[in-house]
Symmetry: C3
Subunit: 438 residues, 3 copies
């Protein structure tokens, strides 16, 4: 299947308003609708390198698979987080007798994390299983401080840079972690929301606009198909980058005048231009945000059908370590608090006032949509409008280019995901059972 781009019935049509009409009814992106649990045979951002020190162990769930990570001599390795003996999660109580090994806390099966080989069993030294059993490993790459994991069965896996936003791969880029959160929505809703610039409207009261004086429109979208560039080579990365020519700065709603934040009525804002791209499997790049010269990256990595990892990073080109240190300091002190706060004031409505980060609101908003899409099949009932053209393009691109659809396979939805958003926590133990956050 090729992308919607080559669909003959769309040939010659340029107006995005008309394109939404024509595409919406036909929904030429069926595989996308099936990809609840993510795309198979792709690389996913999982955590920041700073979150795993030398010799440390951590567990994560990605696309429904439970995975344990360990860093050895600077390199991150990944194994299935389910002991082949009787299923215990290594990460629930990590044990390491040596740099290269990980031992199961229950009966002491000990694996070399580099290749999954069973190297010893503490409780039956010299077992005949030693040297025979090999535990499932996952390919891992660490790039600019972000750890990427390959979910799939291609061997060897495709190059990781085919699944990364192109600007993230720029030489000299310094990337600084901002936030990593487990959010309660399907990954596709998160990706679509991140890219959809019409939802800027919902951010208009964000505290960020009090801190930095850039005008941001109520909405912005492309009027013509050729304002969307499809990055669609044979090998990836695959994504779409849009150039918005319609910016909404003012609107009259039933007699009330609504104005975009930081708009100066004396000035024209027509030179406002932010380039935004969305890349497979689930990475956003924004050039620039939240301040000129700063690249903003997001990832919406599937955890399971109902949750995704929401990762945010800022980046800039830096020359030398002084510039890098200055950028990181600026991130910590100025930029990161604008987009994500771990504790806002719960008495202030979401997104209103300075208590919440700009992107905390997205986290909340995506959750609002999840129920209707996941359980009430809003995928087939939504009523799209012109700014959604880019959403349709994204869906068609993914449907055409994905290497596969992830399914539960030999995993099951993990119990313990709870309404408080605690999610899969392999360290979940007596502490958590007393009702405290682990």
């Amino acid at each position: 299947m090729k992308t919607g781009e080559t669909d003959p019935s769309l040939e010659g049509v340029q107006d995005t308003d008309e394109l939404v009409d024509r595409v919406e009814r036909r929904k030429p992106y069926e595989p996308y609708l099936e990809a609840k649990l993510g795309l198979r045979n792709h690389w996913y951002a999982v955590f920041f390198g700073t979150e795993l020190a030398e010799g440390e162990v951590r567990g994560e769930m990605v696309c429904g698979e439970r995975i344990v990570f360990k860093r050895v001599s600077g390199v991150v390795y990944a194994l299935e987080d389910r002991c082949p003996h009787r299923g215990a999660a290594f990460s629930a109580r990590p044990e390491c007798y040596s740099a290269n090994t990980l031992t199961c806390w229950l009966h002491g099966f000990t694996f070399d994390v580099r290749d999954g080989a069973l190297v010893e069993i503490v409780t039956e030294p010299g077992s005949k299983l030693v040297g025979k059993l090999r535990h499932k490993t996952y390919p891992v790459r660490e790039i600019s401080g972000v750890v990427f994991l390959f979910i799939g069965d291609m061997d060897p896996p495709p190059p990781v840079d085919q699944d990364i936003q192109p600007k993230f791969l720029k030489p000299g880029l310094v990337c600084h972690p901002v936030a990593r959160n487990k959010s309660r929505a399907n990954w596709r809703l998160a990706a679509e929301n991140g890219y959809d610039a019409a939802h800027l409207y919902a951010h208009r009261n964000a505290g960020l606009f009090e801190q930095i004086d850039i005008p941001v429109p109520l909405s912005t979208f492309p009027s013509r198909k050729d304002h969307v560039t499809e990055v669609d080579g044979d090998t990836g990365p695959w994504g779409i980058v849009k150039f918005d020519d319609i910016n909404i700065w003012h609107v009259e709603v039933d007699g009330t005048h609504v104005t975009a934040p930081n708009v100066n009525p004396e000035q024209s804002h027509d030179n406002w231009e932010i380039e935004v791209g969305l890349f497979m499997p689930c990475g956003l790049e924004v050039d620039y945000f939240p301040a000129p010269g700063v690249l903003h990256f997001e990832w919406y990595t599937p955890i399971d059908e109902d949750h995704h990892l929401y990762m945010i990073a800022h980046a800039a080109l830096c020359e030398g370590s002084d510039e890098e240190a200055a950028f990181r300091k600026r991130c910590e002190e100025e930029l990161a608090p604008l987009v994500w706060r771990d504790e806002g004031d719960p008495n202030v409505p979401v997104g209103d006032g300075p208590s919440w980060g700009f992107n905390n609101f997205d986290d909340w908003g995506r959750e609002q949509m999840h129920h209707v899409y996941h359980y009430e099949d809003f995928w087939h009932r939504e009523r799209l409008f012109r700014p959604d053209y880019i959403v349709l393009r994204w869906r068609m691109l993914v449907a055409a280019r994905m290497r596969g659809v992830q399914t539960w396979g030999d995993w099951a939805p993990t119990r313990g995901w709870s309404p408080d958003g605690r999610g899969y926590n392999p360290n979940f133990g007596p502490k958590a059972r007393r009702g405290e956050k682990p």
Copy 2:
């Protein structure tokens, strides 16, 4: 189908004990057993008018449908609480730019709440959808301070007074809100429990009996079929009103003497008489309770299969505003605390002692029955006795007269109903996610 009344095999039988035997085995009320989610094409009490001020917005779930309400120039309007664009709940973050409109917080679709017309889109002013898209609206009526909503597809809907307890419609009635709670039981168990006077026994230790000195029997029920009046005209209201002639004031249980509350052994209580009616779809009227001259109304509006809105109001005929003010003051200070307290002492067993309201206990009791009826099919396994005759009459009436059975249709059971009874809360946001009650 006509009601059980006309069943030839029951002809001539008058004794309620014998009738229970004959009816129980045949269960001639199959449609009632299917109406888990409520009756379709009926009017339901949803909230008190005082809970929605001019210009305010609130969300509720009724019979599984999520609905948003707004008051405009004194009139309450209702819309589907699910934006046709991408499914957001308007009520999650209400936005109003004008008196007549409601705007979706996510991309600014703006509707006239009076007719559901899309009047503008903030993020694409002048969209070609404007003037074409019409969002689903629901009929609403406000009577004596109670807001009624029509769930169904009859157009026009039947007159609201066909679905209201007759005494509630008396001219000159002043109705005062007492409580509105989301309870964890199917609506049918609530209605049956409210009407079933044999469960008075369970209330015998209620604090109410310490406050007011009316004797209340351990149980009370009709001995003869003709002590039950079926209000069963062609158009409704449809209900049953009973006249109990058997009152149990004393009983000997395996050697122990049990006496009804406030019974004076020197006196006869044979003149005790309270008229109780149960009306479709789910309204109770009690004349009198908790004190002579006071009408007591209850509604058990279905929320979903496992929950109902439990609304309680007191009413009296008043002449002039002074009498009304005095009655409302008496309700607040004397009557309401007898039947409902929001915070009882959790260390005192339910219903014993003065800490709990009379009807708090019903809330607890219905929840106790829900599991066995809903999951263990007690509808077909219960073993009824003589006082349950009125329950059987109610079931047969509903089965014969209901305008339809509600099903999930294009809605799904909403996630987020939690064991703490928080229920569907469209305002559920970051505050609630931190584990606090919103």
Copy 3:
């Protein structure tokens, strides 16, 4: 079906390592794999006699059935905890008007707990149901302070001593309750874990080893089939008792030396010997633990598919009441705190340090395995090793000897089991609903 013992293909094979290989692939214990909810027609330990005083009432769920207990003249009786009238749980609000009776709090149906006969209805004295209705009763026996309940339909039931660990029946035995907890794992995982001595490894940092100076190996298992005695008469008790000849005191794991707790490198520990048996339906006996001369008993009684009652008792032969008193004092002050603490320090990792009891860790560990076995079918995917020979023997014994498999029958999985482990609590009421432990 006879036990795996008589399987011709295993004839003559003695080495446990080879036996695991041969048996693992064939899984000759299918009925065991079906027994999610427990074995039918067996006796189960439910609570300690001290937990039910004369005249008291309590509810429990066993093998998915909800049961209410009352003690009358010293004898414990049990009834279905679901009123035949309309399903209320008697135990939710126990009412007793006389020693022999239990009254339903909702409409006053009153039963003789000794035979289940309906003796009166408070709300309709002299009902024609009285003397006709008989409620389901369950056989109960109380032995050495443990209350056993029969789940099944054999009438009469088999003698209770066919379902009890033999050493528990020793004349002169004094048994002292240690702990009774509701744990979140299937009962079979608990039984296998309790018996599996290779998991001793996981306990190596337990606080117990700081308190008492007995060396305990990292692992211990039998090398030969004839080191396992199958107690397998015609009538029961049925169980297996093992004699471990391979004890692991030291092991080298990828260059690191791991030593068992309290091991003196100067001494031989070859005389270390603890006899452990596992008996149907779910009882462990350890001779000795946690100190020489003390018998340690455990039961893993199924609650539902996802939970079990984890009961622990210590016992010793005592002559006279002085010896008994001294033993009970020692249990309270010295022994019980070693194996179970109700509140450990949640900041200390499980099982490390002195804060947690030895068996608290098992409770945590079993929960870790439950998800993969129950939802990811690890029963068919586990990869066993030599020490698991005894687990396979247990499974084959149960499959061959069980009197039946329990199913949900006319019960349903009970809602209200919550992630905080609160479980089926018939006393669950307003207090619990406010988020506090009832």
